[in-house]
Every structure is written in structure tokens, then in C-alpha cells.
Symmetry: none
Subunit: 526 residues, 2 copies
């Protein structure tokens, strides 16, 4: 079948999702990632509606995109305004990116009711806005809002609107199921109808209100659409947009359609988790293809069949999308992972060593408590060193006390008092900070830096808190993840406790301990 | 179109979902609920594989089902065993329910590889097991495992297996997409093929590994299937089963198909939340039709159109499925969202009132700082009340001090000392907790409960922390979100600060203040 362009709108339509609020920095990180994945278009935002989006467009120009074209979103000009005077259209030009995504009305009811203008004027608005932006040197993708609902209400008029976009010179006309309630067979039928009337390439933009956005996108492609718009993890308003993490492998692996480069597909799971991390939304374990449970098998019939042949209960090999099979109760696979780690760390551990089993048990128990060692290499290495290497702790805690005070109408004040032991030496000191964890961090550094001056080159580059059992309210367990950098490399550490101070302390201690350890072994490759 | 029977397998296939473990009591509660909803079949478990399931079947006989037939699940007899001697078949009879659901192999590869028997013997196993249970007075639903994959591998044999079930006397032959990877068009095509060869009614059982289980079920119905198997909320192993909470309204409202009684549809949202409560799984806010965000609107353009007519951005009226519209206030939104809120709160605010603009500015500025009012109705209402209503603060802070101590090898200890003013009264008290925020929460409650005993009914049901500018490490700004419930309803509040204690304090104060406010207005519908 024909190749399909992947058009991502995570940064615009995805950001409409309740609970998601990207900073400009977040958006830049995501755009870079999607570019590396080989996405064809990245819609960065709506510069006319939001100053933060304009800031993104200005900053993203400092980065070279290898694959993706950056698109700025906006609507057709307002009724009875010259297109070159329309502020929203102007802001698209101000974005200074190669592609404009212009949304216009397809549904006569919307033109009269929401825009309050005539059907004829709406056609001019579409034609002129597309033509004007094209004349300014932009590629224009036209989004036909509510196309399917509009067609059902007034087919002839809906077709007129997309014809107006074609006449204006749109590179692609994207049929949008804006309210997300259309059915797969309808989508396929109407894509075919439009293809029979227009010669411009057709795209699809589906929402998930009927839980069919992925299928609707696929049906559109099978009916001839050559561009699919969607978001990573299906983020988006209400029930979300079409989920590119499912659409891409469905098209590539099931339909043999060329989308992103095949070798990039093996990073799909990582991409999904990266974006959910940036969005600070817990990844859905049951998410198709990329969820941690997507290839998880409970015991019994399935597992014994799987041991004979994976095809018995898996629709694809998980490795194709960078995911992995999980067989619950898998002591053996756990052990082999651990052996792999030992090797990586040059630890001489006999496979039969009972200590190895004990460590595995300890790790499992810690993971049950909420520890997560992925992305927390530092804590994991400290744990193994402690078990095997006659590891000598560079410092230990005698006591710490943290005080936070708030007085009526004054900002909060936090202070940490700390007593540390390094060999025979005891240091007792104090520091303040923006908040309690910052005060703790400052006090720890102050206590250690005389003995370990190298700590001055280490700084925290990331601090994350995840509440694990949210239903327990303020009594819930939290996981703290810290990323530390010494300018040459960075490492992650983790702490878990019902007490956020204690969890932060664990991650901080590991972070410094690992940094000092690495400093001892300059030769060890990172 | 033809009516469709709803066959629920939440209690059997749904219970395979990682993280879900129903007690016998749970299963009875769910079965009673689904019966009241007018479901046609409820599959209660696999008595042959699980003694807990047999217990369920014994106990459920004590309850009269008004609509639903209870089904017991099991597989065809083993190879080379007389059907009446097969223990698994016996356990189905032991369940003493009207319906047997028998799964058998359709895929030649599975017959040889997983069962280790001949293709011919498998046909006998199917035919004889169905016929035997029927001769014992049971209605037999036949589940053709891996039908679609099997057909693609060996079409003639896959058809032979379902013919064997028909010959045995099955009431329905259900085509199962066991690995969940089939495409909608394939499903439609193969349902039609089977219908042209068999006269027995056809059902569909889809899994969600391609994120298309709902669409696949719908396509099967449009191709002639008269029974849909699925689970409430799509619970199930890996990526879940077909979600009945989406399939039922899609069929009823979009395709005009008779499923459960129309008036029961208005309890769909409640049913979804009931089952997630029993399963102890947080409900997905973005779940189609029934999620709390399924009809939540954030974009300003959308909201201003919605104010004119709901059809502009909703695929159905939320009330049809017992859900409701929500308007979120955010930086993406404008004056129209605010006006909608005023209306909702019965605040008489003139659209031209400069105070209205000032509030909008204040909200935007707070959002720039990191506040997020969507999902924080409580804080938002308090903010508006303060601006417009001569709001009287029920309490105020004089001072608070929080102390956390960690001593070598001891667990952390947190304590809060608090001095509050309520009118002329000053309360000075202290409390401890799991962590600093929990101690603060406890101290605040202790201080207020004498004057406001209603605070005892309020409890925190959710506590979230989001580090906003993570690169600033432990000095970063954090946003705290709290969800509070008083047993009748729940509300969210928010706080933002570089100091997590201060941010938590803001959210806690709003949470209690809003709860007390709502308590003043018993007449106001929630």
C-alpha cells in the first residue's frame, strides 16, 4: 500500500488533555525526540491563541530537525476581514516555520451557529487563508473540522469547503472527526467519496470518543488517506486523539505500510514512556504495543504454550516495538537479568552463589514497595556494590532535622540541621533552602564538601516526585527520582517512603555516593 | 438492524487483568449489578481451573437473576478421554447454571503444537463436548479460540471446527480474536464468510492488542454477529478485552441496535465506576462515554461554541449515558469558560464587568506560576467567591511549624505544630504523621474539628505532586493537587510553591474551605 505520513499533534491537540500542561522546555524535548523517530510533521502549537506557543516556535528555530517539518496551527481568517490583516493569520507567519495547519468549518450548522457568517463567506475564508499563506511560501495543511458530521448534515456544502481548500493550494486536506463519534465504515466510505471528487492528498484526524480512533484512522488509510494525524499515547481533550503508538505499528507491521523508518519502530515503547514522563502522566500499563503489561502473561495455559512458541498468544513479537514479554513468576528470567548486570559491572558472581538469589529477592521486595531501578542506575549499582564488593560507605548519617515554618502572610521558611560522620570525623552543620528538600540538599553538600571537594562539580539536574498509592491521600507512599550530573555524565537515583523527606534523602545519599564512587574509577566506561 | 446480546466476561476474562483479583463477594455484587442493567449473559468463571469460581456458582444460585443467564466457562474435553469422564467438563455440570461456554481450538498450528493431538481428534472433542453438555440440558455457547488467526493459516480447517460446534448443537458460535491483533476489515470479512457457511447465530469476542477491540466488535455486528462478548471498562489480560461500556452506547445510540434496555443506558457511567470501585482500579478519566473527562472541554473556541449549542463539540448528550459536561479553566481558555463557570455558580457577573477581566488576568498569571485549575474546582470556586461574594474565610493561619527528624537507622518522624484562628478563637495544637504533609493534614483537622465537626466526614482521596521545572533540582517549583471527598461528592484543590509544604498547605486549606462552603449550601445541587 501507499506510504503514510505521520503528523503529530501532541504539542497542540495533545496539550488540550486535562491534566497535561507542557512547558516550553518540555515541548522542545518532545519535538526533538519525535524528529529522531522519523515523524514527518510536528505541530508545535497555536501561536495566535497562546504566547507560550509563540515562544516555542522562536526557540525551536535554534534546533535542526532531521526528518520533521514543524507546523504552526491556526484557523481561517475571521469573517469580513482581509486575510493579511487577520491577527491569527499573522501570528502563523510570525512563527516562521515551514508549515501552516489551517482549520476551517465543514458543517453548515457550525458556520451559521458558531461563526455567525454565511456559507459563501466561509468558503472565501478557507480559500483565501490557504492561498495567502501559500503565497507567503508556506506549505499549508488544511484541517476540515467536523468533516464527517458536516457531510452527514449537508454533503454538498461539506464537499465545497474541501474543494475551496484545494483551490487555495492546500498540500493535504485532512478530514477531521472532531467530535470523535464516527464509525469505521462511515469513515472509509467518506474518504472514498472525497477522493473521487478531489485530487489533493487526503489525511485523517480522528478523536476517540467512540473508542475507535485507531480503527477509524486505519480504515481511512485503507480507503486511500496518506496522512494520519494523532498524538503520542493518544493524549488529547475528552477521550483523546488517535494514538500514534498503536497506529504506527498497526500500519507498519499489519498492513505493510511505510510510516516511520522500520528500525525506529524498536524505540516506540521508549518514546511512549518518554512522553508520559515529560507529561507527568502515569503510563497506562495496558496500553497496546507499549504498555508494560501489553505482553504480560499470567501463568497456566498461556505460559506453557508460549514456552513452545510465542505466536500462540502474542499478536507480534514484543521486541519489534521495543517492548518485552513478561511472564509473571519468572525467577529464572529475573536471575538472568541480574547475571547480565553483574557482568556489566565486572562483578565476579557465581551463578550458584546463594547471595545472588538473596539479592534478587531483595530487589523484588524493593520493587514491591515501589522502587524502580530503571533510570536509577546509581541506586542499583550502590545496592550491588554493598552486597558484593566490600563497599566502604564514604559517609553516614548520625541525625538530621528539618524545620519548615509558615507565619501568616509570610513566605515559608525551611532549614535543615544535619550531623554526618566521615570516618572518624563528625560534621554538624545547617543550611536553609527554598523548600525542605532543597534545604536538605544544601546541608548535605555543606557537610561533605570539605572532605569531598569533588561534590562541588555534582549538581542535581532533575527532581521528580511520584505519589504511588494516591488513594491514601497525604499518607501515601512516594517515589523520588533524582538525576545528578557532574558535567561529564549524569546518573539517576531513587528513594521510596511514605515520608517524602526520607525518600528524598535516600535518593540524595545514593546520588552523592555513586558520584564519589565513579570518581574513584575514572577508567570505568559509563 | 438485528438486536445484539450482551455477553459479559468481566468475572472470567476480565479477572485475568494484572492487578485485579475479585473475591467471591465482589463477583456476586458485580453479577447482580449487570443483571439489573439488562445484560443477557454473565460468565462467572472457570470452575474447572479455580475452586473460588466453583464457590461463586454455588452461591449465585441463591440470587434470582431478572435478565441474565449465568454461564460457566471451560474447554473441550481432553484428547482421547471420554467426554463424560473429563474432569473439566464435569466441573461445568457441577456449576449447575443454565449456560456452558466451551472454548475449542480453531488453529491447526495450536491443535498440533499446544494440544499435541490430531486435527481430526480436535473436531471430535468440539462436537462431543458441545453435544454432551447440551444433552445434559445446558445451553452451549461455543468460543472458537484464535478463529481469525486460524482461518488465515488454514481456512478450511478453521471452518471445520465451527461446523463441528454447530453439529454438536451450539446455540451460538463465537469467533474469538484471542491474540487481539486482527484488523476491522478482516473481522467483517470473516464474519460474513462464516455466516455464509453456518446457520447457527454468530458472536464476536475481541481483544484490544491493536487498540481496535471496540471497532472490531462493531464491524462484526454490522457483518451479522448477534452476540458481543466483552468486559466492563475493557478489563482483561495484556491490553484488555473489548470494552462493553463503549460498545453498548456505540450500538444503541449510533447504530440503532437494541442491546440493553434504553433506560438502563443512563446508568452506564455509574456501572463503570461501580465496577472499577469493586476492582479497586482507579477509573480512567479519559475513558469514552463514562470517564469523568469524556465530556470535559478545555479549549476556549470549543467552549464559546458549546455555550451556543452542545452539538458543536459533543458526539452525544452526556446525560444519555449518565455522564455530565465539564468545562475546564485553563490558559488555553478564555472569557467564555469563565462565563460558563459564573453561570454554573449562579454568580451574577456582567460580561463587561472589569472585575471579570481582572479575575481572568489573575487566573492566567497564576497559571503562569504553575497553578492548574482544571480538576481543582474547589480552589477555583474559592477564588471566585473571594472576588465576588463578600466571602468570609472560615479560619486563618497564625503560624505553623513542621519538624522532620531522621536518626541513624530509625524511621523518619514528622510532627506539625499549628496555631489557627477561627473568629475570636485561637487554637494551638500539634499532630504527627507518616510524613510532613500527613502531619500537617492531621494537625489542621485537629485544630478545626471542634468548631467545624463536619470536617470529620471529609477525607483526602488523592494526593499528587508534580515538580514543574525539574531542572532546578530540589529547588524547583512544585504543584500539589488534592482530591477530597465527603462521601457524597468529591472536589479537587491545588497549591503551587517552591516549598512543597507551602504548596500542600494551600491545597489543604482550599480543600477544607470549599468543603465547609458546600456544607453551608445544602440546597445547591452538587
Amino acid at each position: 500500500m501507499h506510504p503514510v505520513q505521520i503528523y503529530d499533534t501532541t504539542l497542540r491537540d495533545g496539550a488540550q488533555s486535562g491534566g497535561i500542561s507542557f512547558s516550553c522546555e518540555d515541548k522542545i524535548k518532545i519535538a526533538q525526540y519525535l524528529d529522531k523517530m522519523g515523524f514527518h510533521y510536528i505541530e508545535g502549537g497555536w501561536p495566535g491563541s497562546n504566547p507560550k506557543d509563540l515562544d516555542f516556535f522562536h526557540r525551536i528555530r535554534g534546533y535542526t530537525m532531521k526528518h520533521a517539518k514543524i507546523a504552526a496551527f491556526g484557523s481561517t481568517r475571521r469573517p469580513s476581514v482581509a486575510v493579511e490583516d487577520d491577527p491569527s493569520v499573522k501570528s502563523i507567519l510570525d512563527a516562521q516555520v515551514p508549515v501552516a495547519a489551517i482549520v476551517g468549518k465543514s458543517w453548515d450548522f457550525h458556520v451559521r451557529r458558531a461563526l455567525g457568517t454565511t456559507l459563501e463567506e466561509n468558503l472565501s475564508m478557507i480559500r483565501e487563508t490557504v492561498a495567502y499563506l501559500k503565497s507567503c511560501g508556506m506549505e499549508v495543511v488544511y484541517d476540515a473540522e467536523h468533516f464527517f458530521d458536516g457531510y452527514k448534515a449537508n454533503a454538498a456544502y461539506a464537499l465545497d469547503t474541501v474543494k475551496a481548500a484545494e483551490e487555495g493550494g492546500a498540500s493535504t486536506v485532512v478530514l477531521c472527526d472532531t467530535n470523535g463519534g464516527s464509525l469505521p465504515a462511515e469513515i472509509a466510505e467518506l474518504v472514498q467519496v472525497v477522493r473521487s471528487r478531489l485530487s489533493v492528498p487526503i489525511g485523517i484526524h480522528a478523536h476517540n470518543d467512540g473508542e475507535m480512533a485507531v480503527a477509524n484512522s486505519l480504515m481511512a488509510v485503507q480507503a486511500g488517506a496518506v496522512q494520519v494525524q494523532g498524538t503520542v499515547n493518544g493524549y488529547g481533550e475528552r477521550c483523546g486523539n488517535a494514538n500514534l503508538c498503536s497506529i504506527i505499528p498497526n500500519l507498519t507491521l499489519k498492513c505493510g505500510v511505510e510510516t516511520i523508518p522500520r528500525k525506529k519502530l524498536a524505540r516506540l515503547t521508549e518514546m511512549s514512556h518518554f512522553v508520559s514522563e515529560v507529561a507527568n502522566v502515569s503510563p497506562d500499563p495496558h496500553r497496546p504495543y507499549v504498555g508494560v503489561s501489553a505482553f504480560a502473561h499470567k501463568g497456566g495455559v498461556h505460559v506453557s504454550a508460549l514456552l513452545k512458541d510465542y505466536k500462540t498468544y502474542e499478536h507480534i513479537e514484543p521486541e519489534l516495538v521495543g517492548n518485552q514479554r513478561r511472564v509473571l513468576v519468572s525467577e529464572l528470567s529475573g536471575m538472568s537479568n541480574l547475571l547480565y548486570k553483574y557482568k556489566e559491572l565486572n562483578l565476579q558472581v557465581d551463578q550458584q552463589d546463594p547471595e545472588g538469589r538473596r539479592i534478587l529477592e531483595e530487589i523484588k521486595q524493593m520493587e514491591n514497595q515501589g522502587f524502580q531501578f530503571e533510570g536509577a542506575e546509581g541506586s542499583f549499582v550502590i545496592l550491588l556494590r554493598k552486597a558484593f564488593n566490600g563497599y566502604h560507605e564514604p559517609f553516614s548519617l548520625e541525625a538530621l532535622r528539618l524545620i519548615t515554618e509558615i507565619k501568616e502572610n509570610n513566605p515559608a521558611y525551611s532549614e535543615a540541621i544535619i550531623k554526618m560522620k566521615m570516618g572518624d570525623r563528625v560534621v554538624h552543620t545547617a543550611a536553609e533552602g527554598n523548600g525542605p528538600v532543597n534545604a536538605l540538599d544544601n546541608a548535605l553538600r555543606k557537610a561533605l564538601e570539605e572532605v569531598y571537594p569533588e561534590i562541588r562539580s555534582m549538581h542535581l539536574s532533575d527532581y521528580k516526585v511520584r505519589v504511588l498509592d494516591e488513594k491514601d491521600g497525604t499518607g501515601a507512599t512516594v517515589r523520588v527520582h533524582i538525576e545528578t550530573s557532574n558535567g561529564k555524565r549524569s546518573w539517576g537515583t531513587v528513594g521510596v517512603s511514605q515520608n517524602i523527606i526520607e525518600a528524598s534523602w535516600q535518593a540524595l545519599v545514593d546520588s552523592v555516593a555513586y558520584g564519589l564512587l565513579e570518581d574513584d574509577n575514572h577508567d570505568t566506561p559509563a
